[in-house]
Protein backbone atom coordinates (compact mmCIF):
# COMPACT_ATOMS: atom_id res chain seq x y z
CA UNK A 1 0.00 0.00 0.00
CA UNK A 2 2.86 2.34 0.90
CA UNK A 3 4.29 1.53 -2.46
CA UNK A 4 1.11 2.41 -4.29
CA UNK A 5 0.93 5.69 -2.45
CA UNK A 6 4.54 6.46 -3.38
CA UNK A 7 3.84 5.70 -7.03
CA UNK A 8 0.82 7.95 -7.11
CA UNK A 9 2.69 10.74 -5.42
CA UNK A 10 5.59 10.46 -7.83
CA UNK A 11 3.30 10.57 -10.82
CA UNK A 12 1.54 13.68 -9.54
CA UNK A 13 4.90 15.27 -8.86
CA UNK A 14 5.76 14.83 -12.53
CA UNK A 15 2.72 16.87 -13.37
CA UNK A 16 3.80 19.52 -10.91
CA UNK A 17 1.19 18.77 -8.31
CA UNK A 18 2.16 18.20 -4.72
CA UNK A 19 -0.01 15.66 -3.02
CA UNK A 20 0.61 14.56 0.54
CA UNK A 21 1.58 10.92 0.84
CA UNK A 22 -0.33 10.69 4.08
CA UNK A 23 -3.44 11.90 2.35
CA UNK A 24 -3.12 9.28 -0.37
CA UNK A 25 -2.40 6.61 2.18
CA UNK A 26 -5.42 7.54 4.25
CA UNK A 27 -7.71 7.24 1.23
CA UNK A 28 -6.13 4.00 0.17
CA UNK A 29 -6.35 2.61 3.65
CA UNK A 30 -10.01 3.41 3.89
CA UNK A 31 -10.81 1.77 0.59
CA UNK A 32 -8.60 -1.27 0.93
CA UNK A 33 -8.88 -2.11 4.59
CA UNK A 34 -12.24 -0.79 5.56
CA UNK A 35 -14.29 -1.21 2.43
CA UNK A 36 -12.42 -4.25 1.10
CA UNK A 37 -11.75 -2.74 -2.30
CA UNK A 38 -9.05 -4.58 -4.30
CA UNK A 39 -5.79 -2.57 -4.34
CA UNK A 40 -5.81 -2.00 -8.09
CA UNK A 41 -9.33 -0.61 -7.96
CA UNK A 42 -8.46 1.52 -4.94
CA UNK A 43 -5.46 2.97 -6.74
CA UNK A 44 -7.63 3.99 -9.63
CA UNK A 45 -10.23 5.49 -7.37
CA UNK A 46 -7.69 7.52 -5.42
CA UNK A 47 -6.02 8.81 -8.56
CA UNK A 48 -9.34 9.88 -10.02
CA UNK A 49 -10.40 11.66 -6.87
CA UNK A 50 -7.15 13.64 -6.74
CA UNK A 51 -7.39 14.46 -10.41
CA UNK A 52 -10.82 15.91 -9.81
CA UNK A 53 -9.65 17.79 -6.78
CA UNK A 54 -6.81 19.44 -8.72
CA UNK A 55 -8.78 19.82 -11.92
CA UNK A 56 -6.41 17.84 -14.05
CA UNK A 57 -7.94 16.24 -17.13
CA UNK A 58 -7.62 12.46 -17.10
CA UNK A 59 -6.04 12.39 -20.51
CA UNK A 60 -3.13 14.43 -19.26
CA UNK A 61 -2.48 12.17 -16.34
CA UNK A 62 -2.60 9.03 -18.42
CA UNK A 63 -0.97 10.68 -21.40
CA UNK A 64 1.68 8.45 -22.90
CA UNK A 65 5.01 9.07 -21.44
CA UNK A 66 7.89 8.68 -23.84
CA UNK A 67 8.29 4.98 -24.24
CA UNK A 68 11.63 3.55 -25.21
CA UNK A 69 12.15 2.77 -28.86
CA UNK A 70 13.15 -0.84 -29.21
CA UNK A 71 14.00 -3.33 -31.88
CA UNK A 72 11.41 -5.98 -32.59
CA UNK A 73 13.77 -8.77 -31.64
CA UNK A 74 14.32 -7.18 -28.23
CA UNK A 75 10.68 -7.55 -27.26
CA UNK A 76 10.94 -10.32 -24.75
CA UNK A 77 8.66 -9.26 -21.94
CA UNK A 78 4.93 -9.16 -21.49
CA UNK A 79 3.09 -5.97 -20.60
CA UNK A 80 5.75 -3.41 -21.53
CA UNK A 81 5.15 -0.13 -23.31
CA UNK A 82 7.41 0.37 -26.27
CA UNK A 83 7.84 2.30 -29.48
CA UNK A 84 8.85 0.48 -32.63
CA UNK A 85 9.85 1.65 -36.08
CA UNK A 86 9.40 -0.59 -39.08
CA UNK A 87 7.37 -1.81 -41.98
CA UNK A 88 4.03 -3.56 -42.33
CA UNK A 89 5.18 -6.81 -43.83
CA UNK A 90 1.78 -8.41 -44.10
CA UNK A 91 -1.80 -7.66 -43.23
CA UNK A 92 -3.91 -10.57 -42.16
CA UNK A 93 -7.62 -11.02 -42.08
CA UNK A 94 -9.03 -9.57 -38.88
CA UNK A 95 -11.70 -12.04 -37.93
CA UNK A 96 -12.89 -10.36 -34.77
CA UNK A 97 -14.95 -7.26 -34.46
CA UNK A 98 -12.74 -5.94 -31.72
CA UNK A 99 -9.72 -5.96 -34.04
CA UNK A 100 -9.48 -3.42 -36.80
CA UNK A 101 -6.21 -4.62 -38.29
CA UNK A 102 -3.81 -7.43 -37.62
CA UNK A 103 -0.61 -8.45 -39.35
CA UNK A 104 3.12 -8.73 -39.30
CA UNK A 105 5.34 -5.78 -38.46
CA UNK A 106 9.05 -5.93 -39.11
CA UNK A 107 12.25 -3.96 -38.66
CA UNK A 108 15.92 -4.71 -39.26
CA UNK A 109 15.99 -7.13 -36.36
CA UNK A 110 13.02 -9.31 -37.29
CA UNK A 111 9.26 -9.47 -37.37
CA UNK A 112 6.45 -9.48 -34.81
CA UNK A 113 2.70 -9.80 -34.91
CA UNK A 114 0.73 -6.62 -34.31
CA UNK A 115 -2.90 -6.12 -33.43
CA UNK A 116 -4.73 -2.83 -33.76
CA UNK A 117 -7.85 -2.73 -31.66
CA UNK A 118 -11.01 -1.33 -33.20
CA UNK A 119 -11.49 0.73 -30.05
CA UNK A 120 -8.16 2.48 -30.60
CA UNK A 121 -9.72 4.49 -33.46
CA UNK A 122 -6.30 4.75 -35.12
CA UNK A 123 -5.90 5.32 -38.85
CA UNK A 124 -5.51 2.26 -41.05
CA UNK A 125 -2.03 1.11 -42.00
CA UNK A 126 -1.05 -0.21 -45.41
CA UNK A 127 0.97 -3.23 -46.34
CA UNK A 128 4.49 -2.36 -47.45
CA UNK A 129 4.41 1.11 -45.87
CA UNK A 130 6.70 2.22 -43.08
CA UNK A 131 5.58 3.53 -39.71
CA UNK A 132 6.56 4.38 -36.21
CA UNK A 133 4.24 2.73 -33.73
CA UNK A 134 4.43 4.88 -30.67
CA UNK A 135 3.45 3.61 -27.27
CA UNK A 136 2.29 0.12 -27.99
CA UNK A 137 1.89 -2.66 -25.46
CA UNK A 138 3.75 -5.91 -25.69
CA UNK A 139 2.00 -9.13 -24.92
CA UNK A 140 2.85 -12.76 -24.83
CA UNK A 141 0.93 -15.88 -25.69
CA UNK A 142 2.49 -19.32 -25.51
CA UNK A 143 5.96 -17.93 -25.71
CA UNK A 144 5.19 -15.80 -28.75
CA UNK A 145 5.32 -12.05 -28.46
CA UNK A 146 3.13 -9.52 -30.16
CA UNK A 147 2.40 -5.82 -29.94
CA UNK A 148 -1.00 -4.22 -29.43
CA UNK A 149 -2.02 -0.77 -30.56
CA UNK A 150 -4.58 0.82 -28.30
CA UNK A 151 -6.15 4.20 -27.57
CA UNK A 152 -2.95 5.69 -26.23
CA UNK A 153 -0.85 4.51 -29.17
CA UNK A 154 0.13 6.65 -32.10
CA UNK A 155 0.91 5.79 -35.69
CA UNK A 156 3.38 8.01 -37.52
CA UNK A 157 4.05 7.30 -41.19
CA UNK A 158 7.72 7.21 -42.17
CA UNK A 159 8.84 8.07 -45.68
CA UNK A 160 12.07 6.16 -45.45
CA UNK A 161 12.15 2.51 -46.55
CA UNK A 162 12.89 0.19 -43.70
CA UNK A 163 14.64 -3.04 -44.51
CA UNK A 164 13.05 -5.99 -42.77
CA UNK A 165 15.50 -8.49 -41.42
CA UNK A 166 14.60 -12.10 -41.27
CA UNK A 167 16.90 -12.88 -38.33
CA UNK A 168 18.32 -16.03 -39.79
CA UNK A 169 18.85 -18.69 -37.20
CA UNK A 170 21.52 -21.30 -37.57
CA UNK A 171 21.66 -24.74 -36.11
CA UNK A 172 23.86 -27.72 -36.59
CA UNK A 173 23.34 -31.18 -35.29
CA UNK A 174 21.97 -34.53 -36.28
CA UNK A 175 18.52 -35.15 -37.68
CA UNK A 176 16.99 -37.55 -35.20
CA UNK A 177 13.44 -37.81 -36.43
CA UNK A 178 11.21 -37.08 -39.38
CA UNK A 179 7.67 -36.35 -38.36
CA UNK A 180 4.41 -37.53 -39.85
CA UNK A 181 3.08 -35.19 -42.47
CA UNK A 182 6.45 -35.24 -44.25
CA UNK A 183 7.24 -36.51 -47.71
CA UNK A 184 4.68 -36.46 -50.46
CA UNK A 185 1.60 -34.65 -49.19
CA UNK A 186 -1.52 -33.07 -50.60
CA UNK A 187 -2.56 -29.54 -49.89
CA UNK A 188 -5.96 -27.87 -49.97
CA UNK A 189 -6.30 -25.76 -53.14
CA UNK A 190 -8.24 -23.16 -51.16
CA UNK A 191 -6.08 -22.55 -48.13
CA UNK A 192 -2.85 -24.44 -48.83
CA UNK A 193 -3.24 -26.46 -45.65
CA UNK A 194 -1.95 -30.02 -45.65
CA UNK A 195 -4.75 -32.53 -46.07
CA UNK A 196 -5.30 -35.28 -43.55
CA UNK A 197 -6.78 -38.38 -45.17
CA UNK A 198 -7.76 -36.34 -48.19
CA UNK A 199 -9.72 -33.77 -46.20
CA UNK A 200 -8.92 -30.21 -45.26
CA UNK A 201 -9.68 -29.05 -41.73
CA UNK A 202 -11.46 -26.01 -43.11
CA UNK A 203 -12.86 -27.00 -46.50
CA UNK A 204 -13.57 -30.70 -46.05
CA UNK A 205 -13.05 -33.20 -48.84
CA UNK A 206 -11.15 -31.50 -51.65
CA UNK A 207 -9.06 -32.47 -54.64
CA UNK A 208 -5.62 -31.86 -53.19
CA UNK A 209 -2.50 -30.50 -54.86
CA UNK A 210 0.66 -32.54 -54.43
CA UNK A 211 3.56 -31.05 -52.55
CA UNK A 212 6.79 -32.25 -51.01
CA UNK A 213 8.02 -31.20 -47.61
CA UNK A 214 9.91 -32.41 -44.56
CA UNK A 215 9.19 -31.72 -40.92
CA UNK A 216 12.22 -32.94 -39.05
CA UNK A 217 13.75 -32.80 -35.61
CA UNK A 218 17.39 -31.87 -35.18
CA UNK A 219 19.36 -32.40 -32.05
CA UNK A 220 22.86 -31.29 -31.10
CA UNK A 221 23.04 -33.33 -27.92
CA UNK A 222 21.89 -30.41 -25.81
CA UNK A 223 19.00 -28.76 -27.61
CA UNK A 224 16.22 -29.95 -29.86
CA UNK A 225 15.25 -27.93 -32.90
CA UNK A 226 12.31 -28.50 -35.21
CA UNK A 227 12.99 -27.70 -38.84
CA UNK A 228 10.74 -27.34 -41.84
CA UNK A 229 11.94 -27.97 -45.40
CA UNK A 230 9.79 -26.73 -48.25
CA UNK A 231 9.59 -28.32 -51.67
CA UNK A 232 12.63 -26.65 -53.24
CA UNK A 233 14.88 -27.36 -50.27
CA UNK A 234 13.64 -30.94 -50.01
CA UNK A 235 14.18 -31.54 -53.71
CA UNK A 236 17.69 -30.14 -53.63
CA UNK A 237 18.68 -32.03 -50.51
CA UNK A 238 17.24 -35.45 -51.27
CA UNK A 239 17.45 -35.43 -55.04
CA UNK A 240 13.82 -36.49 -55.14
CA UNK A 241 11.78 -34.09 -57.24
CA UNK A 242 8.04 -33.76 -56.84
CA UNK A 243 7.59 -35.57 -60.16
CA UNK A 244 9.85 -38.38 -59.10
CA UNK A 245 8.07 -38.63 -55.75
CA UNK A 246 4.73 -38.94 -57.53
CA UNK A 247 6.12 -41.67 -59.76
CA UNK A 248 7.54 -43.52 -56.80
CA UNK A 249 4.21 -43.32 -55.00
CA UNK A 250 2.25 -44.43 -58.06
CA UNK A 251 4.52 -47.37 -58.64
CA UNK A 252 4.36 -48.54 -55.04
CA UNK A 253 0.69 -47.60 -54.67
CA UNK A 254 1.77 -45.95 -51.44
CA UNK A 255 2.83 -42.40 -50.59
CA UNK A 256 4.84 -43.71 -47.67
CA UNK A 257 7.67 -44.96 -49.87
CA UNK A 258 8.72 -41.38 -50.43
CA UNK A 259 8.86 -40.76 -46.70
CA UNK A 260 10.87 -43.94 -46.15
CA UNK A 261 13.35 -42.86 -48.79
CA UNK A 262 13.69 -39.42 -47.25
CA UNK A 263 14.18 -40.91 -43.80
CA UNK A 264 16.91 -43.23 -44.99
CA UNK A 265 18.72 -40.29 -46.55
CA UNK A 266 18.45 -37.92 -43.59
CA UNK A 267 17.97 -39.55 -40.22
CA UNK A 268 21.08 -40.14 -38.17
CA UNK A 269 23.16 -37.74 -40.24
CA UNK A 270 24.71 -34.40 -39.39
CA UNK A 271 23.54 -31.21 -41.02
CA UNK A 272 23.93 -27.47 -40.69
CA UNK A 273 20.82 -25.42 -41.41
CA UNK A 274 19.96 -21.77 -41.51
CA UNK A 275 16.70 -19.98 -42.03
CA UNK A 276 14.09 -17.77 -40.45
CA UNK A 277 12.71 -18.80 -37.12
CA UNK A 278 8.96 -19.13 -36.92
CA UNK A 279 7.35 -20.50 -33.81
CA UNK A 280 9.31 -23.57 -32.80
CA UNK A 281 10.46 -24.19 -36.36
CA UNK A 282 13.31 -22.98 -38.48
CA UNK A 283 12.01 -22.45 -41.99
CA UNK A 284 15.07 -23.80 -43.67
CA UNK A 285 16.56 -21.75 -46.47
CA UNK A 286 19.76 -23.69 -46.67
CA UNK A 287 20.69 -27.12 -45.41
CA UNK A 288 24.02 -28.77 -45.94
CA UNK A 289 25.58 -31.96 -44.72
CA UNK A 290 27.89 -30.96 -41.90
CA UNK A 291 31.29 -31.57 -43.46
CA UNK A 292 33.50 -29.40 -41.33
CA UNK A 293 36.86 -31.11 -40.95
CA UNK A 294 36.86 -32.97 -37.68
CA UNK A 295 40.60 -32.79 -37.16
CA UNK A 296 40.41 -29.40 -35.44
CA UNK A 297 37.65 -30.52 -33.13
CA UNK A 298 39.72 -33.52 -32.19
CA UNK A 299 42.70 -31.36 -31.32
CA UNK A 300 40.58 -28.97 -29.33
CA UNK A 301 38.86 -31.64 -27.26
CA UNK A 302 42.13 -33.46 -26.65
CA UNK A 303 43.84 -30.27 -25.59
CA UNK A 304 41.03 -29.29 -23.26
CA UNK A 305 40.70 -32.62 -21.53
CA UNK A 306 44.38 -33.53 -21.50
CA UNK A 307 45.55 -30.41 -19.73
CA UNK A 308 44.26 -31.20 -16.22
CA UNK A 309 45.75 -34.69 -16.32
CA UNK A 310 49.11 -33.30 -17.28
CA UNK A 311 48.98 -30.96 -14.30
CA UNK A 312 48.16 -33.75 -11.91
CA UNK A 313 51.04 -35.88 -13.18
Amino acid sequence: MKQIAKQIEARFMELGIKVETSEIEASLDQLINKFKVPPEEARRNVINSFLKKHNVPKSEFFAPRETPQVKVSDIKEDGKWVTVRGKIVQLWEANQESISQVGLFGDESGTIKFTKWAKSALPAVEEGKNYIFKNVATSEWQGQFSIKLNKTSEIIPVAEEIEVGSTPTEFSGAIVDIQTGSGLIKRCPECNRALVKGACGEHGKVEGIYDLRVKAVMDDGEKVQDILLNREVTEALTGITLEKAKDMATEALDQAVVLDMIKSKLVGRYFAVSGAKLDRFILVESIKPDVRPIEEDIKRILAASAAPIAQEA
Binding site: V176, V267, Y270, D290, I298, I301, S305, P308
Partner: protein, 190 residues
Protein backbone atom coordinates in the same frame (compact mmCIF):
# COMPACT_ATOMS: atom_id res chain seq x y z
CA UNK B 1 12.65 -21.41 -26.26
CA UNK B 2 9.29 -21.92 -24.66
CA UNK B 3 7.76 -25.29 -23.97
CA UNK B 4 4.97 -26.49 -26.16
CA UNK B 5 2.20 -26.97 -23.64
CA UNK B 6 4.68 -28.29 -21.16
CA UNK B 7 5.88 -30.95 -23.53
CA UNK B 8 9.39 -30.89 -24.86
CA UNK B 9 11.10 -33.58 -26.80
CA UNK B 10 13.88 -35.31 -24.93
CA UNK B 11 17.35 -34.58 -26.23
CA UNK B 12 19.22 -37.52 -27.68
CA UNK B 13 22.44 -37.84 -25.71
CA UNK B 14 25.70 -39.00 -27.24
CA UNK B 15 27.11 -41.75 -25.09
CA UNK B 16 30.04 -44.06 -25.81
CA UNK B 17 29.44 -47.78 -25.52
CA UNK B 18 31.88 -48.16 -22.65
CA UNK B 19 30.00 -45.57 -20.64
CA UNK B 20 26.55 -46.91 -21.42
CA UNK B 21 27.68 -50.38 -20.40
CA UNK B 22 28.51 -49.09 -16.93
CA UNK B 23 25.21 -47.24 -16.55
CA UNK B 24 22.70 -48.72 -14.17
CA UNK B 25 21.21 -45.82 -12.27
CA UNK B 26 17.56 -45.28 -13.08
CA UNK B 27 15.82 -42.09 -12.17
CA UNK B 28 12.28 -40.96 -12.60
CA UNK B 29 10.96 -37.46 -12.51
CA UNK B 30 7.59 -37.08 -10.90
CA UNK B 31 5.29 -39.75 -9.51
CA UNK B 32 3.03 -40.15 -12.51
CA UNK B 33 3.18 -43.52 -14.26
CA UNK B 34 3.78 -41.60 -17.47
CA UNK B 35 6.67 -39.59 -16.10
CA UNK B 36 9.76 -40.16 -18.18
CA UNK B 37 12.36 -42.65 -17.04
CA UNK B 38 15.93 -41.53 -17.15
CA UNK B 39 19.17 -43.38 -17.05
CA UNK B 40 21.95 -41.50 -15.35
CA UNK B 41 25.35 -42.43 -16.75
CA UNK B 42 28.69 -42.33 -14.91
CA UNK B 43 29.57 -38.94 -16.41
CA UNK B 44 26.21 -37.51 -15.37
CA UNK B 45 24.20 -37.60 -18.59
CA UNK B 46 20.57 -37.89 -17.66
CA UNK B 47 19.17 -39.57 -20.68
CA UNK B 48 15.80 -40.71 -21.86
CA UNK B 49 17.01 -40.94 -25.41
CA UNK B 50 20.39 -41.61 -26.99
CA UNK B 51 21.89 -41.15 -30.42
CA UNK B 52 24.68 -43.49 -31.39
CA UNK B 53 26.53 -44.32 -34.56
CA UNK B 54 28.73 -47.36 -34.95
CA UNK B 55 29.41 -50.49 -36.92
CA UNK B 56 26.77 -53.19 -36.93
CA UNK B 57 28.76 -56.38 -36.51
CA UNK B 58 26.18 -58.98 -35.57
CA UNK B 59 22.45 -59.27 -35.74
CA UNK B 60 20.03 -61.95 -34.76
CA UNK B 61 16.29 -62.49 -34.72
CA UNK B 62 15.61 -63.70 -31.21
CA UNK B 63 11.82 -63.39 -31.38
CA UNK B 64 9.60 -66.38 -30.83
CA UNK B 65 6.19 -65.44 -32.19
CA UNK B 66 7.03 -62.26 -33.99
CA UNK B 67 10.33 -60.84 -35.14
CA UNK B 68 12.51 -59.40 -32.45
CA UNK B 69 15.86 -58.23 -33.64
CA UNK B 70 18.97 -57.74 -31.60
CA UNK B 71 22.04 -56.09 -33.00
CA UNK B 72 25.55 -55.50 -31.77
CA UNK B 73 26.92 -52.11 -32.71
CA UNK B 74 30.55 -51.30 -32.08
CA UNK B 75 32.12 -47.91 -31.43
CA UNK B 76 35.77 -47.19 -30.57
CA UNK B 77 35.16 -47.94 -26.89
CA UNK B 78 33.03 -51.08 -26.95
CA UNK B 79 29.70 -52.45 -28.06
CA UNK B 80 26.08 -51.43 -27.75
CA UNK B 81 23.20 -53.85 -27.74
CA UNK B 82 20.29 -52.58 -29.75
CA UNK B 83 16.85 -54.14 -29.93
CA UNK B 84 13.92 -53.62 -32.22
CA UNK B 85 10.70 -55.59 -32.02
CA UNK B 86 7.16 -55.38 -33.28
CA UNK B 87 6.63 -51.98 -31.71
CA UNK B 88 9.57 -50.53 -33.60
CA UNK B 89 8.66 -51.88 -37.05
CA UNK B 90 10.74 -49.40 -39.02
CA UNK B 91 13.89 -50.00 -37.03
CA UNK B 92 13.29 -53.74 -37.04
CA UNK B 93 13.00 -53.73 -40.82
CA UNK B 94 16.25 -51.88 -41.25
CA UNK B 95 17.99 -54.32 -38.98
CA UNK B 96 16.41 -57.25 -40.80
CA UNK B 97 17.61 -56.21 -44.20
CA UNK B 98 21.05 -54.88 -43.31
CA UNK B 99 23.98 -57.23 -43.67
CA UNK B 100 26.78 -56.60 -41.23
CA UNK B 101 29.28 -55.09 -41.20
CA UNK B 102 27.71 -51.72 -41.90
CA UNK B 103 27.80 -48.25 -40.36
CA UNK B 104 24.52 -47.61 -38.64
CA UNK B 105 22.94 -44.73 -36.71
CA UNK B 106 20.48 -45.46 -33.94
CA UNK B 107 18.15 -43.18 -32.06
CA UNK B 108 16.51 -44.94 -29.18
CA UNK B 109 15.67 -45.30 -25.51
CA UNK B 110 18.19 -46.71 -23.10
CA UNK B 111 16.76 -49.61 -21.13
CA UNK B 112 18.20 -51.73 -18.39
CA UNK B 113 17.65 -55.38 -17.71
CA UNK B 114 18.58 -57.20 -14.54
CA UNK B 115 19.73 -60.78 -14.96
CA UNK B 116 19.03 -63.58 -12.51
CA UNK B 117 22.53 -63.11 -11.19
CA UNK B 118 21.73 -59.50 -10.42
CA UNK B 119 23.82 -57.99 -13.17
CA UNK B 120 22.34 -54.96 -14.87
CA UNK B 121 22.58 -55.03 -18.63
CA UNK B 122 21.98 -51.91 -20.66
CA UNK B 123 20.61 -51.94 -24.15
CA UNK B 124 19.01 -49.48 -26.52
CA UNK B 125 15.47 -49.94 -27.77
CA UNK B 126 15.69 -48.42 -31.23
CA UNK B 127 13.16 -45.83 -32.29
CA UNK B 128 14.81 -45.50 -35.62
CA UNK B 129 17.84 -46.96 -37.27
CA UNK B 130 19.49 -46.06 -40.54
CA UNK B 131 22.52 -47.06 -42.53
CA UNK B 132 24.97 -44.16 -42.73
CA UNK B 133 28.41 -43.48 -44.20
CA UNK B 134 31.86 -43.51 -42.65
CA UNK B 135 32.01 -39.71 -42.42
CA UNK B 136 28.89 -39.63 -40.27
CA UNK B 137 30.33 -42.28 -38.01
CA UNK B 138 33.57 -40.32 -37.56
CA UNK B 139 31.67 -37.14 -36.88
CA UNK B 140 29.62 -38.92 -34.28
CA UNK B 141 32.73 -40.14 -32.46
CA UNK B 142 33.96 -36.55 -32.28
CA UNK B 143 30.52 -35.35 -31.23
CA UNK B 144 30.24 -37.98 -28.52
CA UNK B 145 33.77 -37.19 -27.37
CA UNK B 146 32.94 -33.50 -27.11
CA UNK B 147 29.80 -34.12 -25.10
CA UNK B 148 31.48 -36.64 -22.85
CA UNK B 149 34.32 -34.19 -22.20
CA UNK B 150 31.78 -31.49 -21.38
CA UNK B 151 29.97 -33.76 -18.96
CA UNK B 152 33.24 -34.68 -17.28
CA UNK B 153 33.88 -31.00 -16.68
CA UNK B 154 30.43 -30.53 -15.21
CA UNK B 155 30.89 -33.53 -12.99
CA UNK B 156 32.89 -31.34 -10.64
CA UNK B 157 29.92 -29.02 -10.30
CA UNK B 158 26.76 -29.33 -8.30
CA UNK B 159 24.11 -30.11 -10.88
CA UNK B 160 21.70 -32.78 -9.61
CA UNK B 161 22.56 -35.33 -12.31
CA UNK B 162 26.29 -34.82 -11.76
CA UNK B 163 25.91 -35.17 -7.99
CA UNK B 164 23.88 -38.38 -8.35
CA UNK B 165 26.34 -39.83 -10.83
CA UNK B 166 29.30 -39.12 -8.57
CA UNK B 167 27.58 -40.58 -5.56
CA UNK B 168 26.42 -43.71 -7.33
CA UNK B 169 29.40 -44.52 -9.54
CA UNK B 170 32.31 -42.73 -7.85
CA UNK B 171 33.23 -41.92 -11.42
CA UNK B 172 36.87 -42.27 -12.33
CA UNK B 173 37.23 -39.06 -14.31
CA UNK B 174 40.70 -39.84 -15.59
CA UNK B 175 39.62 -43.20 -16.95
CA UNK B 176 36.83 -41.54 -18.89
CA UNK B 177 39.17 -38.85 -20.13
CA UNK B 178 41.46 -41.56 -21.37
CA UNK B 179 38.50 -43.22 -23.08
CA UNK B 180 37.63 -39.97 -24.85
CA UNK B 181 41.23 -39.47 -25.95
CA UNK B 182 41.51 -43.03 -27.19
CA UNK B 183 38.29 -42.74 -29.16
CA UNK B 184 39.48 -39.54 -30.80
CA UNK B 185 42.85 -41.03 -31.65
CA UNK B 186 41.14 -43.96 -33.33
CA UNK B 187 39.32 -41.61 -35.67
CA UNK B 188 42.49 -39.77 -36.42
CA UNK B 189 44.52 -42.84 -37.20
CA UNK B 190 42.54 -43.71 -40.27
Amino acid sequence: MADNNGFTREVAHRIFAAELKESNLQAKEGQDQYSPQYLITPTGAKCNRVFIVGTLTEKEDVGTDSEFWRGRIVDPTGAFFVTAGQYQPEAAQVLAKTTPPEFIAVIGKPTTFTTKEGNVLTSIRAESMHVVDAATRDRWVVDAAMHTAKRLEKLAGSEPAAMKAKEHYSTNVDAYKAMVAQALESVRAR
